[in-house]
Symmetry: C2
Subunit: 361 residues, 2 copies
């Protein structure tokens, strides 16, 4: 099956998570398909239905970042209140054989903190945790899951604001996180021509990690470099402090939950700009280089591997060096231009990059 969304064309049998852009609205659509039979309520049907219903976007002037950005934000007094909602579904976003319940609890909070970090200088404050669990789930699993929630909430000083538990046929973790900050939020749609495109760290590890798990499962005797990649998959860390440090200099910002390719696309397209990416500049960890030796493989993970949760941002040329002093791990991988296309170069030669949607399960 072939679909085209936002100018991205991809072959898919199983769609994981798409950010669908229609009119001025984007809605996260998660579609789970257990097998190759596209069920009657196909993704297009769903999208069309929502499209018809929600075309009248609010003109509320207090809204500072709307549906489709990493968080929904609005002004209240001098504060920006940012709210993000993310769902982790068993067999779609995780397999419980491959991640410990405590890691899963931690990750559920981290990925939401990441969406708050992607708005700039915002402090995560309050969380609502909704949990769906099958009846046969062992007590220990839930106990450890909550330990994970708690640990990460404590780490960020996030207070529990509410939650509910529902019996369901598979594990569903639905987290709503509320953040607050006095600074302006940094949106996706404000990159300027000539801005450099920066990233906070290496890309591809998390995608490589899950690929290893697919190949060998969890019980395999992994070497140190391989274990590092799996750790990066299961234990993402939100770049919150990094966001706080640099946000005042940025023109646009997002996180890379869906892979670098999609992040760059979002920043450029939402800003109605184009970009040139120098693939040789995309930072790759030494561990990824050890485990997957070919450049092409490494870059494939970096662009399409998803779940790296690094920040992807644009910054005026003049401020780029200052940012590297603040966060030495920052790399610049390209530049925003006034075209409306995103071109990739490798060893000076333009590459045809085709979106290869990352298949989960």
């Amino acid at each position: 099956m072939r679909i085209t969304i936002n100018g991205l064309s991809c072959d898919i049998l199983i769609i994981d998570r798409l950010v669908i852009d229609f009119y001025y609205i984007k809605i996260d659509i998660i579609i789970i398909m257990k097998n190759k039979n596209i069920s009657k309520i196909g993704e297009f049907g769903l999208i069309d239905r929502i499209k018809t219903q929600f075309t009248n976007i609010s003109t509320d002037r207090n809204i500072t970042a709307n549906i489709g950005d990493d968080s929904f934000c609005f002004k209240s007094g001098k504060n920006n209140i940012c709210i993000t909602k993310d769902m982790l579904v068993e067999e779609v976003h995780f397999k419980k054989e491959w991640i410990s319940p405590q890691e899963l609890g931690k990750k559920s909070i981290e990925v939401n903190v990441c969406d708050i970090a992607a708005m700039g200088n915002i402090i995560p404050k309050y969380v609502f945790i909704g949990l769906g669990v099958p009846s046969k789930t062992p007590e220990m699993f839930i106990n450890n899951l909550y330990k994970g929630f708690k640990k990460t909430c404590d780490k960020y000083k996030i207070a529990i604001a509410g939650g509910d538990i529902v019996k369901s046929d598979r594990i569903v973790i639905s987290v709503t996180l509320v953040g607050m900050g006095k600074q302006e939020v940094i949106k996706r749609n404000s990159a300027e021509e000539g801005d450099l495109i920066g990233v906070t760290n290496t890309f591809g590890d998390a995608g490589a990690g899950i690929t290893l798990l697919y190949k060998h499962g969890i019980k395999y005797k992994y070497n140190k470099a391989q274990r590092y990649l799996i750790l990066k998959q299961n234990n993402p860390k939100a770049r919150l402090k990094e966001a706080w440090k640099i946000s005042e200099y940025l023109t646009s910002l997002t996180d890379a939950s869906d892979g670098l390719y999609i992040s760059v696309n979002l920043l450029a397209k939402d800003s109605k700009k184009g970009a040139e990416i120098n693939m040789n500049k995309i930072p790759i960890s030494s561990n990824l280089k050890k485990v997957f030796k070919e450049d092409k493989e490494q870059l494939n993970f970096a662009l399409f591997g998803a779940e790296d949760y690094e920040l992807v941002f644009t910054v005026p040329d003049l401020k780029a060096e200052l940012l590297k002093k603040l966060i030495p791990k920052i790399s610049y991988i390209g530049v925003i231009n006034s075209s409306n296309e995103i071109r990739y170069f490798y060893n000076g030669k333009e590459q045809k990059i085709k979106y290869s949607g990352y298949k989960h399960f």
Copy 2:
């Protein structure tokens, strides 16, 4: 099986929705049990697990209403931001044979608006709609469901802030609603000795409506009075304007989603007070009287029937008449006292009221 929660003791086979109060934390727990076999992950297990994890409640001074109130609220500038999250699960909160998809969409928003109304003078602003749907759900169903969401959002001028759709084994509607207001929020725990206990309208209709549906299904030839009761079950209206009108005079406030008995209990217990209720004063609609002729039946629906979504509040004696001028449908059903028990009187004679948990499905 017999459980005791908050001093309420009840016989249950199927637990629908319990507000569990431990330490200073309350968490809505929804447990679905299809049959009499209490699954291994019983409700006590769950409660205990959460208890162990979330005993350290935040001391954040910006929090103006914490977990356990109808909404979670915090200060931002001069505003109170209130957030409520509710989940409607097929076969627990509704049967799709008994309610039209559009009614279901409307109801999902209304019940959340109701939780915002229960905080006083708060304006519902932004909504996140999470939807779980089985793959075989007809397009028309989802289309009409969204029409329902949209209609009620438009009615209250609520903007859609985000949403996700997940394929699931049964319909799950998870709504997060954000409200904002400049006035202080009215909590559950601030009733004073001598305050009158008021309600905004009649009780028992919604519970009677679902009882009819259980008995006869949806296709039965109902008479006018019966149809009214079913309409009250399927089309609740949040008492938002009523809350705005009277909140400045109130000492405590909640909604009656779980029945009048539980609401009165919450207001009195959370305020560390007691109450006397005059059951003859509980307002019963003429339609309920027509369909269920015995006083005892009517009062049973009023106290335990749930889903009436009326406001239940306390107000100083001196302001009681003023409120009745503002909203003529208000009735006063009792008085707060300094004891720690809630006593029910009928025709001047004390009644032993035993909580008979309302069974859904």
